[in-house]
């Protein structure tokens, strides 16, 4: 894959391992916002899923998207790494419009990790091969180098002894941690997490949330769609409430969870509390 011109590739891939803590409040630091969404709209046939999303995410900021199923959280994440083409609006990553015509979507995706609700590991490959596929086939890293890096990542997340297993031998929590490692192996500048604990048994949720906490501490820029409200309150710099394809309310978790302004947000949170999820 070659870039169309000589400017450096989109983003700052090195930030995955950068150890600085996230800036307080997540205000934009010098340079560009990591993600800027301008009036993003997406429909599937006659179904309007996103109806004008505006959002800006600073480098190292952790944003949690909350909202009912079908509010557009997952679609929003899939739009950001161009798995879904948007119908209208612009997505700007580190100052570059990735919805402009002629953008190499593969080059964009190299810098964005996404983790799916259903893990989506490759069942015909070992854990280690799942992790090295991207680095070797996309980044052109040598096999030895990719495997060394993959092993180091697996060890860091307590999966070292699983490297030669096939995914179906692993528990859901382990599979999801491998999926996170697979995304991290590409050294992404942004991680998108799409309800990564929704398919897990309750006792396996915490091991995955622990990994995400570690990423946040390491300064990873993250956009997290989640139903885990307690987790969102803990980890997010900012919480966005999505309802019918628009962001109805956003702010620091304390404010959104304790003093929501919008009536729909209040209603949503009341239901969550009634269900014992907050």
């Amino acid at each position: 894959m070659t870039e169309p011109d000589a400017t450096p590739a989109v983003g700052e891939p090195a930030s995955a391992t950068r150890p600085e803590p996230p800036p307080a409040g997540g205000s934009a630091v010098a340079g560009h916002e990591a993600i800027r969404l301008e009036d993003v709209c997406k429909s599937f046939g006659s179904l309007e899923v996103l109806r004008g999303i505006n959002l800006s995410v600073a480098p190292h900021e952790v944003i949690c998207l909350i909202g009912a199923s079908g509010s557009g959280k997952s679609t929003l994440l899939r739009c950001v790494n161009l798995l879904e083409p948007v119908n209208r609006g612009r997505i700007i990553l580190w100052g570059q419009d990735v919805t402009a015509p002629g953008v190499d979507e593969n080059a964009v995706r190299r810098h964005i990790g996404i983790v799916f609700q259903a893990f989506n590991l490759f069942p015909h490959m070992t854990v280690l091969r799942n992790i090295t596929l991207g680095p070797t086939r996309v980044l052109g890293v040598s096999r030895e180098e990719a495997e060394a890096a993959g092993r180091a990542l697996l060890a860091r997340f307590g999966l070292a002894e699983k490297q030669d297993d096939y995914p179906d031998r692993l528990s859901g929590g382990q599979q999801q941690r491998v999926a996170i490692v697979r995304a991290l192996a590409m050294k992404p500048g942004i991680m998108l997490l799409d309800e990564v604990t929704s398919a897990l048994d309750p006792e396996l949720v915490s091991e995955v949330l622990g990994v995400i906490r570690e990423l946040a501490t390491a300064g990873m820029t993250m956009l997290i769609a989640t139903h885990e409200m307690g987790f969102a309150r803990d980890i997010a710099d900012r919480v966005c409430f999505l309802d019918e394809g628009v962001i109805l309310e956003q702010g620091p978790p304390k404010q959104v969870f304790t003093a929501p302004v919008n009536a729909r947000t209040q209603q949503f949170l009341r239901r969550i509390v009634e269900a014992g999820r907050l």
Binding site: M1, F44, S74, T75, R78, N81, L83, E84, P85, N106, A107, R109, R110, I112, G113, I114, F116, A118, N120, L121, F122, P123, H124, L133, G134, R137, V138, L139, R182, A183, M186
Partner: protein, 314 residues
């Protein structure tokens, strides 16, 4: 709660169970364990007996049918069978045994070519790159035509049509080569569809995962989709190759028709008109192409239903 709770055998006593609407004990048949074991032996005895009776009836049909004598003489004559297997040049008899070796040679060569050619067709149909549109269209037409036309007509078209073109190097090949060409053309269309079904059976989320790593569409196919697709298509592929092995025998009709035309003093490449085959082929296409399109629509509808919300990336 009735006496005898958990840990003391039955949770409910029998009367309570009946009162709850449970069927009385023994109403599912069976009985005690001993007679169940005996039942296994009895089943074996019954199936043995019924097999013997079935075979006896078949044999009786062959032995007592009015034409049984003639059939035995023409189909199952031991000395003729031996002669046919070895062949006898003095009598002008071809060896069926040698024919089998020829058949296996053709089959093996054709199979390798088919596996490769069909994969190219299936992959071309899968790639969404707009530059490849003409190739995609060609691939669709190809599979429609060669799935639609009976193999025997393809064999005639190649075996008689190509020599009649008088193309240098192409028109002077042997029936062996024309036969393989016809088999490859016809079977690749089927096998391409088998591959395509295998590709479609790999869940869309696998493609999403591959593309999200930055893999191009081709690399996603190559490293993620095709390896999984191959696993699912091996049984249907073997199925197709069993029929390929048998259909290889059809190539022998090339020789037979030429012999017959020669005997009737017809020069097959110039005078004899094969237009009837063309008409037959066109009629077959009229029937099969709508069927193929209909199948495609059913598949597409199924895929769309499964994809709802699962992403549009291919």
């Amino acid at each position: 709660m009735p006496a005898g709770g958990i840990g003391e055998g039955a949770f409910f006593d029998e009367q309570t169970l009946v009162a709850l609407g449970a069927p009385p004990p023994g109403s599912f048949g069976g009985g005690d364990r001993r007679s169940h074991l005996l039942g296994g032996q009895r089943a074996a005895a019954v199936s043995t007996l019924s097999t013997i009776v079935f075979i006896a009836v078949l044999i009786a049909l062959f032995v007592f049918a009015p034409g049984a004598e003639a059939v035995r003489h023409t189909f199952f004559n031991p000395s003729n069978m031996k002669e046919a297997f070895l062949g006898d040049p003095r009598l002008g008899l071809y060896s069926v045994g040698k024919g089998l070796i020829l058949n296996i040679e053709m089959f093996l060569i054709a199979e390798v070519l088919i596996l490769f050619f069909a994969l190219v067709i299936a992959v071309v149909r899968q790639l969404r790159n707009p530059v490849l549109f003409p190739f995609r269209m060609l691939a669709v037409i190809y599979t429609d035509v060669f799935r639609g036309v009976p193999l025997i007509i393809v064999i005639y078209a190649i075996g008689f049509g190509v020599p009649a073109l008088y193309l240098k190097g192409i028109s002077t090949q042997s029936d062996f080569v024309y036969g393989i060409a016809a088999l490859v053309l016809s079977y690749s269309a089927y096998v391409a569809e088998v591959y395509r079904a295998g590709i479609a059976s790999v869940h869309q989320s696998q493609v999403s995962a591959a593309r999200s790593l930055g893999l191009s569409q081709w690399k996603s196919l190559r490293y993620v989709v095709l390896p999984q697709a191959f696993r699912t298509v091996i049984p249907p592929l073997l199925n197709d190759f069993i029929s390929l092995q048998k259909d290889t025998a059809l190539v022998s009709t090339l020789g037979a028709v030429i012999e017959a035309n020669r005997a009737a003093q017809i020069d097959s490449s110039t005078l004899f008109v094969y237009s009837s085959y063309t008409v037959a082929a066109l009629l077959f296409l009229c029937l099969t192409i709508p069927l193929a399109r209909f199948t495609d629509r059913l598949i597409a509808r199924d895929v769309n239903r499964r994809l709802a919300g699962a992403g549009t990336v291919r």
